[in-house]
């Protein structure tokens, strides 16, 4: 589902406006690519919760390393 990826990127841009979509790598660690600290990460998840109504439990954070991980995870929750 391509549209979940689009929602994720649009949401990411709210937190990190300088992100260029074409420079994002799906398979490298997202937080270091985009320089998201724990506060940015939390705000990102809050914004995702707003756009997709998916509440990601803290226990699942460790599985969500790359953009692909996150998109795949969200697909199973929607």
């Amino acid at each position: 589902m391509e549209d979940i990826r689009a929602v994720v990127i649009a949401t990411l841009k709210k937190i990190a406006p300088e992100v260029e979509e074409q420079e994002l790598k799906d398979d490298s660690p997202l937080r270091s690519q985009v320089d998201l600290d724990s506060m940015d990460w939390l705000n990102f998840l809050i914004a995702l919760h707003g756009s997709l109504s998916i509440d990601i439990p803290e226990a699942d954070y460790a599985r969500l390393i790359t953009l692909s991980d996150l998109v795949d995870y969200l697909k199973t929750k929607i």
Partner: protein
Amino acid sequence: MIAFKLPSLGADMDEGTLLEWRVKPGDQVKRGDVVAVVDTTKTAVDVEIWETGTLFEILVHPGEKIPVGTVIATLLAPGEVLSPGEIPPARIAEPAATGVSQRRPVSPAARKHAEELGVNLDQVTGTGPGGAVTVEDVIKAAGGHPQDKAADMRRTIAIAMSRSKREIPHYYLSETIALGNAVAWLSKVNADRPVIERILMAALFLKAVARAAGQYPEMNGFYRDGQFSQAAAVHVGVAISLRGAALGGGLIAPALHDVAEKTPGEVMKGLSNLVQRARAGSLKSSELSDPTITVTNLGDQGVESVFGVIYPPQVALVGFGRICERPWALNGEIKLMPVVTASLAADHRVSDGHRGALFLARIRELLLRPEDL
């Protein structure tokens, strides 16, 4: 008649450019109201008023650059009535004085862009509904000044930090703190909370520093004109990096007020709100002038320890590095433990290493018992 002066915008910002008035002559204002927006080299600031009354006359208009302390408006005190002779002629001829007519809607995104690009909103032609200034208008008006803005920000930081290193005899201490209890406590608390109410470790750090600073007053206050005055409350300055690497990033450390009296959940809410407003350019003037001690948290993407530079006229800065797992001896066994290195940079004119060590140890004790924070 009350003279309303541009309040302090923090020790390193001594002037500002008026961007916008949020009130007009005749409006009732009360203590704490945001009445104007002023741009500084670092960020746009919402200027609060500390008097109650009726706005009488606006003396400084959008686009004008003024030093802190300039009288920017006059107010009538509650119940104060002017005799006709005191009313300036312009006021009678033109009841809706200048400033009001120039007030136009500006979207928050446009304001943020204008701030990042160093655009004076007053000189931007608005093409949105009702003459509103849009992001496109700002970008068009910018024509290529972002480097100037980044250079201004860098210069402002340079002035404050050079002054700090020139004047303050720093001493440094550090301590590795076991966070097993705090991590376990947080995951238990957060498991029951929806994402919007989750608490980060940073909130516990701030709370612990604030509680400890209340007990070690020589860490909490200001050194001015050769003497230290301790602050009555603990307002923790939170070092926040401003996003936008293309613009040179930057750093600002606004105050989170009365941290010691708040619950960890309240501290978290306040922190989250402060970070968002710092990045959106809507901090309040009191938040920039109030911090009594600073906390810098390099966070989980960073390094293990930080040795900070004190933000004058404050006298202490507490730094936290990345939380990482280390082998740790506990009850005769070695186990894996999440730990953080906390450091203290403090002003030797005000305190000695012995007191600094007790202060840092107190922070450690508080973090070992998160349920009591």
